[in-house]
Assembly symmetry: C2
Homo-oligomer: 136 residues x 2
């Protein structure tokens, strides 16, 4: 067993019908300086509902819960069960108001612990250089 | 203080002059099934050299270490100091050979603990919808 590394949540997701908000803890207010200059951000959060021995020991899934898809290793999917329950989503940053980020396109459940925010910088490879599994 | 969440490294980065390798721990071999179908992967790793009280409490930096850039919150940068030292890099997957992934474009230091691998699926927003800080 390798040494464990420790994460401390820096905020929390609050979902409503219309948009999602991320409430950043006051201790991390200074880390938000300049974030509003981005149109999009990467949000890293924790799949907290799956933080169980079962959720963290599931290594293969049928993608999208469809048994018509091939059994696939979780590293080849974005499944919410995996050894480290880190979720990664790019979303649109609609507003920064103090410690509150209003975002569109965040797929996190209400109450999800937020681990990190990174400004989104484009730079995808050319589409003709990208290869994907058939089920994607 | 919120409850801490625990990460267990799933592998380790080995750098050489030519390419980087990721060695996945044998316990996670099953999670690699189907990964070779991707041309590109997202690698989440840990900025282990900065896992110190100072590295985790630095909330603002001069981007790229250039004092000509404006002082910026770490959430608005990809700086290797931040409350949770999770690094995120898209790289090209050159080969999968057992537990060894050979990759190009991974900026991790030798020995970096690997936290997660996710197959890369394209889908950036249109460039005319992306707004960035001037220093980027």
């Amino acid at each position: 067993m390798r040494d464990a590394l420790m994460l401390r949540p820096v905020g929390r997701v609050h979902r409503s019908d219309t948009a999602s908000r991320i409430e950043i803890d006051a201790a991390y207010a200074d880390a938000l300086l300049g974030l509003a200059d981005y149109s999009h951000i990467m949000v890293l959060y924790w799949f907290h509902h799956n933080d169980t021995p079962e959720g963290r020991s599931t290594l293969q899934v049928y993608p999208r819960g469809d048994r018509g898809n091939p059994l696939t290793g979780v590293f080849a999917t974005h499944a919410p069960v995996r050894p480290n329950l880190v979720a990664l989503t790019r979303c649109q940053l609609l507003a920064v108001d103090g410690l509150t980020l209003t975002v569109a396109g965040l797929d996190a459940l209400d109450g999800s612990p937020v681990l990190d925010i990174k400004g989104f910088i484009p730079g995808e490879p050319d589409p003709d250089q990208v290869r994907l599994p058939r089920w994607v």
